[in-house]
Symmetry: C2
Subunit: 144 residues, 2 copies
Amino acid sequence: MQGTDNIDRAILSILTKEARIPMKSLAGRIGLSRSATTERVTRLEKAGIIRGYRADIGQLDDGQIQAFLLVTLKRTPSIGVLDRLAGFPAVRRVSSVSGQLDLVVEVEVGSINALNELRDEVATLDNVEDLTTSIVLRRDIERV
Amino acid sequence: MQGTDNIDRAILSILTKEARIPMKSLAGRIGLSRSATTERVTRLEKAGIIRGYRADIGQLDDGQIQAFLLVTLKRTPSIGVLDRLAGFPAVRRVSSVSGQLDLVVEVEVGSINALNELRDEVATLDNVEDLTTSIVLRRDIERV
DNA sequence: GGCGCATCCGGCATTATGCCGGTTGTGCCG
DNA sequence: CGGCACAACCGGCATAATGCCGGATGCGCC
């Protein structure tokens, strides 16, 4: 077994845009048999290179808002921390970019509690320098 | 037809975490028949609520870097602009949050050209106020 | 009542998948 | 050199999932 080669990169590139594509079609596009393709994808999944498959949600329901938590950290957070945050039902997306944490949260209007709980959770991180919560109504968001 | 109800929210919640789940399993979890579930998912896709399905890539190859383009815009960009940017092969993710544009790009080490081309493309947007390109090596990123 | 419509269900033909066994190429070592 | 181990590939068959119907049910409305 070796690392990620060009075929794997092609697979990742396609799956990044069409995660629900049948393995047979994926195989056809990259020029391999179905079984070989499935094998590669499985390997990528087990190796943690493919972390999972997510539906890309465009618009939100009117009955919901999106909240953005922008947090400045002293150092890059561990995967464990990010996974814990991502485990919150309200959390849509977590990204971390060199010392900055960016949460995209979906909350029911009227139940800002979920947002506050999450905010508290984030605040307990030992390396938080600054914490900003901005709430943006759906209409202001064209795409997230 | 009506807007997004609780069943749809359940569907979205599951698909957000397991986009490749078979419709049959999804149906079982939300307590509907397979055909009804498929119908709902199809409706969500056509309505643009589900924009697509993406593989969530964890680690990157050692032979690659990630580059982050942080752009400040005068106004929220149109979906067309974002889609055009997302069409670049190197682009992993595009997000836009109330006037701020955030590109996550994957580029081969040594072929910074792809990054520069993208940077130029972004610079042609008519409402760009500020453009910052930061390049972060893989080791600095625990999760994106 | 009777109509239109959204939503649901089950079934059947088609397609995709999981799971094999078998082949090929490559590096290693006696 | 011959043989071995192993990764990576292929095709095939039983099983599972999907696409695509027809038909039931509930609801608002003229």
